[in-house]
């Protein structure tokens, strides 16, 4: 049993895992790239080791170096977080070969679920419905994919075989665009996961993206922790999640059916540790298996808020070979939780990533507010990694209370020096469709624009004019002041001294 964990990740998730280890009294080892020497995870961990240059392929994807560091630091386990090496079966296997516990599923489960084709075939065999696609076909060439696309009909999705988080994903609306989109998807997949393979999937329109969190221990217990609603996405990147799902609402029957299907899917690959089964749900409440994420999810905190279970601590407990502390009948969702992903990108400028130094930060606090972040005032956001800089999570007794609380927390949250998507979330909290819970995965792209959302709002142009004018005025005054000071090139004291001597 291990007493020290190496965290093979960076950013907010590395910080999250370090905190869980701290809570359990377990030692922590951080790794960092050249760009991350001053990062929060390095500051918080007990030990930290340099990995390599900033690009992830030279640092956070260097499995060999990470394993060597684990040996050197005498860590007994590796937590991969999400992204980077989290869903690489070869890395999980390498950990076991080195006699290190891998805080995640068995390599065979990652491999089975990691190749989405195999995963879909496996799950379909156990009677779970799947969305039509090039399941189980393995790596196909562009020509083969183009031929299959004709067969399935449009619209289609190109997805990265090794992917997740919308990276390497493209939507095909016309056959003419498809060759170019395939190229772009492969390039992005190669850059993000080191694997350029892609597959096709039929696009379910008006779909909701709802996922079930599961936990499984090595003693054969598998439970689910209810659902998370993840339909609010832009270009297949999740932006906001809530639990429970307003679409499922009080349909306890649907929740339990999806839950038991998720448990069955996990059992189909002999799953151990925390995992997530993603479903597409159509408007008639039919649900289709989409994929399984064999790792900790970005949005896990909302499930923690409504179930009261610390998922990361539970992951460590399971990896230590212990039994889970909870049985299925002890799990119930209480209250409501919402998470807003705060990204370093400018919603007023086509969501262009924003880099630079955070000069100042005012954090939201108060009842029901949780902030998971890896940045701080003075930290420099580099262009090398994901743009997620913080997860703002709130909880309340009801959805209404949670929404109002989120609105309040967003207003308090100020990040200065870089642009963030906080204004996007603020407008979302005012969107009637969102507030009513009526949104699908296309909502942001098709029905939401920053300009339109601002239209109905109270116009505060006069106040804005006063503010801008006062700041501009102050600036001119200050500039004038500096010029005046420089009129005399020596200090006033010196000048007075000389003048007095002259008068003697």
């Amino acid at each position: 049993m291990f007493n020290k964990v190496l965290i093979a990740n960076r950013g907010e998730i590395a910080v999250r895992i370090i905190r869980a280890c701290r809570d359990l009294g377990i030692g922590t080892v951080a790794v960092y790239s050249e760009a991350d020497r001053e990062a929060m995870h390095v500051r918080l961990a007990d030990q930290a080791y340099y990995l390599g240059p900033a690009p992830s392929r030279d640092s956070y994807l260097r499995a060999d170096k990470i394993l060597a560091i684990a040996k050197k630091s005498e860590a007994g386990a590796i937590h991969p977080g999400y992204g980077f090496l989290a869903e690489r079966a070869d890395f999980a296997q390498a950990c076991l070969d080195e006699n290190l516990a891998f805080i995640g599923p068995k390599p065979s489960s990652i491999a089975a679920m990691g190749d989405k084709g195999v995963a879909r075939a496996k799950v379909a065999a156990s009677g779970v419905p799947v969305v039509p696609g090039t399941e189980g076909e393995g790596a196909l060439s562009d020509e083969e994919l183009l031929a299959l696309a004709e067969q399935f009909g449009l619209p289609l999705l190109i997805k990265a075989t090794a992917g997740g988080g919308g990276k390497g994903m493209r939507e095909v609306q016309t056959m003419e665009d498809m060759p170019g989109l395939l190229q772009a998807a492969r390039r992005e997949a190669e850059a993000s996961f080191g694997d350029g393979n892609v597959y096709l999937e039929k696009l379910v329109e008006g779909a909701r993206h709802i996922e079930i969190q599961i936990l499984a221990d090595s003693h054969g217990n598998v439970i689910h922790l209810g659902e998370r609603e993840c339909s609010l996405q832009r270009r297949h990147q999740k932006l906001l999640e809530e639990s429970p799902s307003p679409f499922i609402g009080d349909d306890e029957d649907l929740r339990q059916r999806m839950g038991s299907v998720a448990v069955r899917a996990a059992q189909a690959v002999d799953y151990i540790n925390a995992g997530t089964i993603e479903f597409l749900v159509d408007k008639d409440k039919n649900f289709y298996f989409l994929e399984m994420n064999t790792r900790l999810q970005v949005e896990h905190p909302i499930t923690e808020m409504v179930t009261g279970i610390d998922i990361v601590k539970e992951q460590i407990r399971i990896a230590r070979g212990r039994q889970m502390r909870h049985s299925q009948d002890a799990i119930s969702l209480s209250g409501w939780a919402i998470e807003c992903r705060i990204n370093a990108e400018d919603p007023y400028n086509n969501y262009l990533p924003s880099t630079g130094k955070i000069t100042h930060m005012i954090l939201p606090t108060g009842p029901g507010v949780r902030l998971d972040t890896g940045v701080y005032s003075g930290f420099r956001i580099s262009p090398y990694y994901d743009s997620l800089i913080a997860k703002l999570v709130v909880s309340g007794e009801s959805r209404g209370e949670a929404l109002l609380r989120m609105r309040r927390a967003l207003e308090e949250f100020k990040i200065i020096g870089i642009r963030t998507n906080i204004p996007f979330h603020q407008l979302m909290m005012d969107s009637t469709r969102f507030v009513a819970g009526q949104y699908d995965t296309r909502f942001v792209e098709e029905r939401f624009s920053m300009e339109a959302a601002e239209e109905g709002k109270e116009d505060l142009s006069e106040i804005a004019a006063i503010l801008a004018t006062l700041v501009a005025h102050q600036q001119t005054q200050r500039a004038a002041h500096i010029i005046q000071r420089n009129e005399r090139d020596t200090s006033n004291w010196k000048w007075v001294g000389r003048w007095e001597r002259m008068q003697r």
């Binding site: 990276k167 772009a184 390039r187 992005e188 850059a191 993000s192 370093a344 990108e345 007023y348 086509n350 262009l352 990533p353 924003s354 880099t355 000069t359 100042h360 005012i362 262009p383 090398y384 990694y385 994901d386 743009s387 967003l410 207003e411 100020k414 200065i416 204004p423 603020q426 407008l427 005012d430 601002e454 709002k457 109270e458 505060l460 142009s461 006069e462 106040i463 804005a464 004019a465 006063i466 503010l467 801008a468 004018t469 006062l470 700041v471 501009a472 005025h473 001119t476």
Partner: protein, 165 residues
């Protein structure tokens, strides 16, 4: 001191009477104005209504983030305004546009070539940064000139990528 703040088509006259009084389009406000953190977050009490805003300068003017909305304002004092009016005002359309990298990154593709005629909104360069591919578009129609990058190039922030003449 009298200023004119322009936002969109709207011109708002702001007269700073003294430290605690301004007149906005003829309406008088009693104000109290403080910088609450390092000169970017400001607290304004206008007739005792409390407003907190982020105010920063950009190429388009002053950006004011106020109660979740963004306002962009150009602030000029009367003298500047007269000067600009006498020069004919407006931003001439025939000035060359130099596309600069908004952030460091990797050039993925350059879908245009030297001498190519383009429309406003056409994609000029695809730049990868933070693992996202970002399309950099032309703000006006024109002809592509001096393409300085090719796919695979790494660029620093504010590097000139190409020009539109």
């Amino acid at each position: 001191m009298k200023y004119v703040a322009t936002t969109g088509d709207r011109e708002i006259t702001v007269e700073i009477v003294d430290e605690h009084h301004v007149i906005v389009d003829g309406v008088s406000y009693e104000i109290d104005f403080e910088s609450v953190s390092e000169q970017t977050v400001y607290s304004l009490l206008a007739n005792n209504q409390s407003h907190e805003a982020l105010v920063y300068e950009s190429e388009d003017g002053w950006q004011v983030l106020l109660h979740g909305s963004q306002y962009v304002l150009v602030v000029e004092d009367e003298r500047e305004r007269r000067l600009r009016a006498s020069l004919g005002g407006g931003i001439p359309q025939n000035v060359d546009f130099h596309l600069r990298a908004p952030m460091p990154g990797l050039i993925v593709t350059v879908p245009v070539e030297d001498g190519q005629e383009i429309e406003k909104g056409d994609v000029l360069v695809v730049l990868e940064s933070m693992k996202m591919q970002n399309e950099l578009k032309s703000p006006r129609p024109g002809k592509v000139s001096r393409v300085r990058v090719k796919p695979g190039d790494s660029v620093e922030q504010r590097d000139t990528l190409l020009s539109v003449i």
